[in-house]
């Protein structure tokens, strides 16, 4: 490549004014040379050149480096359009290297005003010094020199693109070359961002899609969420990351299609479906709230708000009399067995009968304490156990139905009531407060016996006791089994030999079983009615 020497300063000072040819100028004869003439010529030359000085000092060309389709295109333009060169030649040098200007191959004696320097100007950090010489024939018309620093001087032409509108969106197809030079792709990724600008009336929206992978072929970007029947204009350009000026592409506009008649029908159908869905959601929410109890819906109005039966409302009927059931009281004497778990009590349950329940549902039972069992130890042990064991708890026996052996008898009459199950029971009754030995209770440790003073208890009076099954009395007092010392004295019946057992009810049962009416008359004479059917003896 021929190397031109460094251009001298005068090259940059090439004037744009047409240089008059020496042969066209009139040649004065020596006789005509005089001082005034010379002065006039000198002044004229100075005047002419002074007018040309601005052009002389300014650059005669505009030099540009542009990235176009990923090609680094160096172009130039003469400012003086009157100068029409026939061809151009391009030289360049690099500031960091001591070498001189080098002619660019492929850009020598060219008629086009641009040159592709993609493969030559590779380094972004270098400062390149290009020189363009315009010739007309063999005459050098213009020489232009400049310094180019690519990061600040390179401009980026917008890429080619197309827009295709569709239903509600626009497809922007950016066309990249299939064989883009690698250096240009790297330059784009490092220093540039692709921008797709969407304009609608006065609203401008910028999209900056990320370009990943190879930048080759068509790149499609979709503009969605657009308003039908609206004119949209699209522009695509590269934006340098150092926020330099950008070169926008010409706008490409399209009018988005509006709703067609068929589409209006579909809109109506869509509206109906929407209303239906809303109604369904509303009804289902109401039903759900009602089911979960959030809404209480009553089908019937309260009577106070019931205005249909106006006469009844005005003249309300008297409330019906309350039906009062007659109550038949059936006294049932129940014996409750004290279940001693240390002994075999289960066999006793076999002989127990079902408890008798009065018409009024009353059952009576007594409580048995330990001390009473102690009190019962003073009774003769020789005799068969005839004491009444009154159960506290589960086992109940109706005395009316009970076998006579359940009822303690006086010693003289005990044998009548004795029966098999009671043979095992002790019949001794003792003073519960006595501290005597309870050896008898030990022998009958599985039995708890206590005495009840029927005179101090309340029993229910029988007014219409036609049922002979009703037995009038058994005490229904509760006794503190834990502390039998706290028993009322009324419960205490000192027992002496020969005295009737402290459970006159048992005797009364016997009497009842033998002679029920007389027993009743006796009970009625000695009872004190305290009201509500209860009688205190």
């Amino acid at each position: 490549m021929p190397v031109n020497p460094l251009p001298c300063c005068c090259d940059s000072q090439t004037t744009n004014a047409p240089i008059p040819k020496v042969e066209n100028l009139p040649i004065p004869s020596p006789a005509h040379f005089s001082f005034p003439s010379i002065a006039f010529v000198y002044i004229s030359l100075v005047f002419v050149t002074s007018h040309a000085l601005p052009d002389f000092l300014e650059k005669p060309c505009t030099l540009k480096i542009t990235l176009r389709n990923f090609q680094s295109i160096f172009s130039w333009e003469l400012k003086n359009h009157s100068i029409v060169p026939t061809h151009y030649t391009l030289w360049y040098t690099i500031m960091s290297k001591p070498e001189g200007m080098k002619m660019v191959e492929g850009c020598t004696n060219i008629t086009r005003p641009f040159c592709d320097l993609t493969d030559l100007w590779n380094n972004m950090h270098e400062t390149y010094i290009p020189r363009v010489v315009a010739f007309k024939g063999n005459t050098e018309l213009v020489s232009c020199v400049d310094s180019i620093f690519l990061p600040l001087n390179m401009s980026f032409d917008p890429p080619d693109f197309e827009i295709v509108d569709s239903m509600g969106h626009i497809n922007v197809i950016v066309k990249f070359p299939y064989n883009a030079p690698k250096i240009s792709v790297d330059r784009l990724r490092r220093h540039l961002s692709l921008v797709i600008e969407q304009r609608s009336e006065e609203i401008v929206k910028k999209h900056k899609p990320k370009i990943t992978g190879n930048v080759t072929g068509d790149f499609v970007y979709v503009l969605d969420k657009l308003i039908p029947n609206t004119n949209y204009c699209v522009s695509v350009y590269f934006e340098p990351k150092n926020l330099r000026a950008v070169i926008r592409s010409p706008l490409k506009c399209t009018l988005l299609p509006g709703l067609e008649p068929e589409s209006s029908e579909s809109a109506i159908i869509g509206g109906i479906v929407t209303v239906f869905l809303i109604a369904t959601v509303f009804i289902s929410s109401i039903v759900t709230l009602k089911r979960i109890g959030y809404i209480y819906l009553r089908y019937n109005l309260p009577d106070a708000l019931n205005f249909y039966n106006r006469p009844a409302w005005i003249f309300p009927e008297p409330p019906p009399l309350e039906a009062v059931d007659t109550v038949d009281v059936i006294y049932i004497n129940r014996k409750k067995k004290v279940r001693d778990y240390n002994s075999d009590d289960e066999t006793d349950s076999e002989d127990e009968t079902a408890p008798r329940v009065s018409a009024g549902g009353y059952t009576r039972h007594g409580l048995i304490t330990k001390l009473l069992t102690q009190a019962s130890t003073s009774l003769s042990t020789s005799k068969e156990s005839q004491l009444i064991d009154l159960d506290v708890g589960e086992d109940y026996l109706s005395e009316a139905e009970a076998e006579p052996p359940l009822v303690p008898e006086p010693s003289s009459g005990q044998s009548e009531c004795a029966s098999g199950p009671y043979d095992r029971r002790e019949s001794e009754l003792q003073d519960p407060f006595s501290e005597e030995d309870n050896s008898s209770t030990e022998g009958s440790g599985d039995r708890i016996i206590f005495n009840v003073n029927l005179n101090s208890v309340f029993v229910r009076a029988l007014d219409n006791d036609d049922d002979g099954d009703v037995s009038p009395m058994l005490p229904e007092e509760t006794v503190d089994l834990e502390n039998p010392d706290e028993m009322e004295s009324s419960f205490l019946i000192p027992r002496e030999e020969g005295m009737p057992p402290p459970f006159p009810s048992t005797s009364e049962e016997h009497l009842e079983s033998e002679d029920a009416p007389s027993e009743k008359s006796d009970s009625s004479e000695s009872d004190v009615d305290i009201g509500d059917g209860y009688v205190m003896r």
């Binding site: 251009p7 001298c8 001591p98 950090h125 310094s147 600040l152 006065e202």
Partner: protein
Amino acid sequence: MNAKPDVIRKCFWPICLVGLFLTSVLSQSCDLLYVHLNRVTWQNLKLLSHMSNPFPVECLKEKKAFELPQEILSHTQPVKRHIEEAFYEISSQVFNIFSQHACKSAWDEKHLKQIQIGLHQQVEYLERCLEEEEKESEDMKQMEEKISGSGDRETLLNNLKLRRYFNRLGNFLKDKKYSQCAWEIVLVEIRRCVFYYFQKFTTLLRKK
């Protein structure tokens, strides 16, 4: 329909100013080294280009190859601290060149002050970041001495190469007696150096 663009126009400049303020504040954080380098470097490059445009053609015959050390941080896996140290050395040396007394006659005072302020800010920022990194790594010093012992040596070598390079620039100015052409040539070379390392370091930081 016109209310929205009016609102946008009214709020545009305040938003821009706030954005610039936030950017400048946030970029002072050492965690945003890339953002800071990007912002400050481009500012300095634009100033340098304004100062050297147009380049006098007559000075082309005095141009010289200063042999920019391009192998710095090329062979190892540099940590952030090494990048900060290299950039700190470059910024300091450039600041020293533009602070010489003879520079005032060569350039427009306004541009000169702007470039000096920009370089000074960069030097201060990098100093602060290096101090912070030293405090953070005090606990790991013993371990680092073994691991990055070679790293420290390489840092020293890199700094030495950079200082030699800037010495060449200084000697060129001195030899050319601080002529206009010498300053123009040195300015173009400094612009080349700054952009070259800016490209390299930002690529390394992005990889991290």
